[in-house]
Structures are given as structure tokens and as C-alpha cells.
């Protein structure tokens, strides 16, 4: 059989893998199978400019639709995969069609964690994951309407910012004691809570929602203490779950995601897993984990393609991420989990500052708020495993560039 790569999942990771395979000179068949109607597209603008109506749909696409045919990539849209048959080396679609592979890439991504409460299936309750989600939501995002957001993570807060800009009344409910509690420090949480409040959003933390109420469409969020919050629509942003079921069904090893090595290979040498669904080595941190980011999707797409064509593995970048809310650009380099010391450089009151995270004296991550120098320096310093100290970054009389040079020279 001639070489054929089947990619399950036509998101940012799957799309990148297909593009990179051709860029790296792969000449066999490529099948890119996605369950959505659109060709691969960027998700980050969905909760930002696209929701705001500032970006037309085609500009979200990673490549124009005709790109795939022009490059002999067979794009299967609206196509769901029923199962992977490892003995036959084939992927069986729900339509009954079967695609043979010599190499298989699983890029099935993730799905929103469902709200486990009564009323979650009412009308005007929305997820924020796909183009279709946003297209359904957009007509309801009208000035004056009352929006209830469940979950104060990045997605929820980005949507809150857009909603305020569009003139909706916004209430954000968060179970934890502070916003962004799962992903960042109290300094950042305090900053973002104040930012949203200054723009007129109501942020309520330490809140337990018990149900959504309404007949047909949602009309109220009901709290555990009985309080009812009236609303016209609800957005749920309480995290995502890896789509690993196809892999599990095929007997591929999984543990909070599909387990892969640095080349993105699973325990079946002909099967790769990339993007949100992959549980990967985090080489800068000596552990493994799942990353939910564009950086990860693109990087692993390239790595899988490189491995398939026998090319050297592209360098693994320090994990990075960004979030735009109002006029604030947050850029994150590295992973802050496990930090035991925090240094704030700059003043949150000026809306330009950076929070540096250290664990056992070792620099591991930065949250840079309108502070690109701190972000880019941090990326380089972590990549080089440089000995940056808390005292270095605390000295605001020295430029970040000079601090970086000193630390890199140690």
C-alpha cells in the first residue's frame, strides 16, 4: 500500500499537520477528517474579534478552502469517525466509509466540560468552542440583554469583555474564591477582577450555582442559597475535556489525554496524537501534561509531520499563551504550576506589569500584562534554562533586556 496519512480532527493541530506534511515534501495521500462544516480555522478570535463582529468568517480559516484540493489534501467536513481499526489500519467513518492509513494522527481536540446542573439544556444557554457555537450565540449578543457567564476562566472573561463592549449587562459567576484561580496568582486575579468591574461587569466569586431556570429559554440562574439571578442568556466556560474516546476504544494508552512521546507518537508506533487531546512531555519542566493552546497545536502538528517524513524534530518552544480583554493584552510564557515565590515587576495600577513565578528559586513562568519585553525575555530565559533570580526582576532600574542578557551570560 502506498503511503497514506489520515488525520482525525480538522482543528488547528490537524490542519497544521496536513500543511506541514506537504511543506516537508510528503507525497502520499492525506485525509483530513473533521466533524465541523468549516475547514480548519483559528479558535482564539472566536471569543474576541469574531464574537465582536470585527472579523469575517473566512479570515478565521487557516487556509482558504481551495488550498486543500490544490495541495491534494482530501478534506472531509461534517464527517465523524466511528472507530479506529488498528488491525486493518483503517479509520471507519460514521457514514460507513473506511480510510486506510500507513500513519494515523489523532487531533480530536477537546470539548467544553458540560454544566452538570438542571436546566443546562435550556435554550439561550451557550458553549464557546466552535464557530457554530459562536454563530448561534451572536444574534443573542445584543445591547441591553442580561448575560450570565458561568466560570471566570480566560474564555469566560474574554466573552465578558466583548459583551460589555457590545453593551450587554454582564454577571460572571465563579465557584472559586477568585477569578482565574486555576491558572494564575492572586495578583493577576485581583487585577482582572478590578478590570472587569471598572468596565461595569459584576464579578461574583465563591458562588455555587445550583440550576438554571426557565421555560424553553433560560430566565434565571439559581444559586445554592436560593438567590435567583435574572438573565436573557447564559454562557458556560468551565473548562474543557480531551476527546480521547476514539483512542481509548482502540486500546491506545491514555491518562488525562492520549499519552505521547516527544515525537507525538502514542504506544502504537504508527499512531500519533497532537493538540488539546495529547498528554505530552513538557521538556522544559521535566514532567508531562496536557496543554490547551495554539502554541501546542501548531508545534505538535509540525513535530508529527516531521517525524512521518523522517525530518529532524522541530525545536520544542516554551509553552506560551495569550488573552485579550478590553485594551489589555496578557502574554504568558512557561507554566506557573507549582510556584512558591512571586515577584511583581511594574505596577498593576498602570496596566503594564509582569508577574514572575519561581519554584525552589528556579524561574518557571511569567504573566505579562501589556509587557511584551517581559514576555519575550522570559520565553528565552526559560528555553535557555537561565539562572534568573527574584532579585534580578525586582530591580526596576534595570531594563528587562539587560536583565535577560545578564542572566543568559551566567
Amino acid at each position: 500500500m502506498s503511503a497514506s496519512v489520515v488525520i482525525i480532527g480538522a482543528g488547528q493541530a490537524g490542519g497544521q499537520a496536513a500543511v506541514s506534511l506537504r511543506q516537508f515534501g510528503f507525497e502520499g495521500e492525506i485525509h483530513l477528517v473533521g466533524e465541523e462544516a468549516a475547514p480548519p480555522y483559528q479558535r482564539p478570535p472566536l471569543s474576541k474579534d469574531y464574537l465582536k463582529g470585527k472579523l469575517e468568517r473566512e479570515r478565521l480559516y487557516l487556509k482558504p478552502r481551495e488550498f486543500y484540493a490544490d495541495n491534494a489534501i482530501t478534506l472531509h467536513t461534517d464527517a465523524r469517525v466511528a472507530r479506529i481499526d488498528r488491525d486493518e489500519k483503517s479509520v471507519v467513518l460514521e457514514s460507513g466509509e473506511s480510510l486506510n492509513y500507513t500513519k494515523l494522527i489523532i487531533a480530536t481536540g477537546s470539548r467544553p466540560r458540560p454544566l452538570p446542573l438542571p436546566g443546562a439544556d435550556l435554550d439561550q444557554v451557550f458553549d464557546l468552542r466552535t464557530l457554530a457555537d459562536i454563530d448561534a450565540l451572536k444574534p443573542a449578543m445584543v445591547a441591553g440583554k442580561r448575560l450570565l457567564i458561568v466560570g471566570a476562566g480566560y474564555i469566560g472573561l474574554e466573552a465578558a469583555a466583548v459583551a460589555r463592549e457590545l453593551g450587554l449587562e454582564v454577571t460572571v459567576l465563579e465557584m472559586a474564591e477568585r477569578v482565574l484561580a486555576r491558572v494564575t496568582s492572586t495578583v493577576m486575579s485581583d487585577f482582572y477582577q478590578a478590570l472587569h468591574e471598572s468596565h461595569g461587569a459584576a464579578i461574583r466569586t465563591g458562588i455555587r450555582l445550583s440550576s438554571l431556570k426557565g421555560e424553553g429559554a433560560v430566565t434565571h440562574g439559581v444559586l445554592a442559597d436560593g438567590e435567583e439571578i435574572p438573565c436573557d442568556l447564559v454562557l458556560v466556560g468551565i473548562g474543557i475535556l480531551p476527546n480521547e474516546e476514539l483512542a481509548v476504544g482502540a486500546g491506545i494508552a491514555c491518562k488525562n489525554g492520549i499519552l505521547v512521546d516527544r515525537d507525538t507518537r502514542t504506544n502504537d508506533g504508527d499512531i500519533y496524537a497532537i493538540g488539546d487531546c495529547a498528554h505530552r512531555p513538557l521538556v522544559h519542566y521535566g514532567r508531562d501534561g496536557r496543554l490547551e493552546s495554539v502554541h501546542n497545536a501548531i508545534e505538535q502538528g509540525k513535530i508529527a509531520a516531521a517525524h512521518i517524513v523522517g525530518k529532524d524534530r522541530p525545536a520544542e518552544d516554551v509553552p506560551w499563551f495569550w488573552s485579550d480583554q478590553y485594551n489589555i493584552k496578557l502574554q504568558i510564557a512557561g507554566l506557573s504550576q507549582g510556584y512558591d515565590e512571586v515577584v511583581v515587576r511594574g505596577d498593576p495600577a498602570n496596566e503594564s506589569f509582569a508577574v514572575f513565578y519561581f519554584a525552589d528559586g528556579k524561574f518557571i513562568s511569567v504573566d505579562a500584562v501589556n509587557a511584551p519585553a517581559e514576555f519575550l525575555s522570559a520565553k528565552r530565559l526559560i528555553a535557555a534554562d537561565a539562572a534568573l533570580t527574584p532579585a534580578d526582576v525586582a530591580d526596576e532600574s534595570v531594563s528587562m533586556k539587560d536583565i535577560m542578557k545578564t542572566a543568559l551570560a551566567r
Partner: protein, 106 residues
């Protein structure tokens, strides 16, 4: 349509028809121009769409905002005519624009 020429670091020229209103980065990605990664999709968050602008056209590409300047300050092999191509909006004034991509976007 506005004609833009991208020259890679080995000197290969590629012409594309860019649309007014899209960015010089988007025109490149849409036309599969190598050497422009644009990982963040144009959010000015990653500095992987660095280009050198033909000096003749530089004044027509608009002013750099503070965010772009800071990002470029940390890019490799920056020159006076460096720009992030996601921050250059295509207009009729840019007809014939020539940009060169650096050897690496890191």
C-alpha cells in the same frame, strides 16, 4: 487586488494578489508563503511574522504601535526596516510592495 512580492532568505521571489484590508501576514498565509509562521494569527502576540520592508515602501506601511516595537526589539536579526507583517494593513498605496522574510522566525 494589490500585488505584493515576498522574497525568502534564499532570494526566491513569490508574487501574490493581496486583498485591501487584510494584513500582509494574512496575504502570505493565504497564499502559502513560506517563512511567515504567524502562530498567533495576527494578535501581535508572538513575533513570528517578522519581515523586512523595502525601504522605499516603509513610510507607506504606517506607524508602529508600542506593542509591535517592543515585540520587534526581541526578534532575531532585526533591522531598521523590520516590521511584524500582521500589523501592516494592505491598501492600494502598497501596490508593488516587496518584503523579505528572515532566515528564522525565532
Amino acid at each position: 487586488m494589490v500585488k505584493i512580492t515576498y522574497i525568502d532568505h534564499e532570494g526566491t521571489r513569490r508574487d501574490v494578489d493581496a486583498k485591501v484590508g487584510e494584513s500582509v501576514m494574512e496575504a502570505a498565509v493565504r497564499n502559502n508563503i513560506p517563512g511567515i509562521d504567524a502562530d498567533c494569527g495576527g494578535a501581535c502576540a508572538c513575533a513570528t511574522c517578522h519581515v523586512y520592508v523595502d525601504p522605499e515602501y516603509l513610510p507607506k506601511t504606517g506607524e508602529q504601535e508600542a506593542m509591535e516595537q517592543s515585540m520587534l526589539d526581541f526578534a532575531d536579526a532585526v533591522q531598521d526596516n523590520s516590521r511584524l507583517s500582521c500589523q501592516i494593513s494592505v491598501s492600494d498605496d502598497l501596490e508593488g510592495l516587496v518584503v523579505t522574510t528572515p532566515e528564522s522566525q525565532h
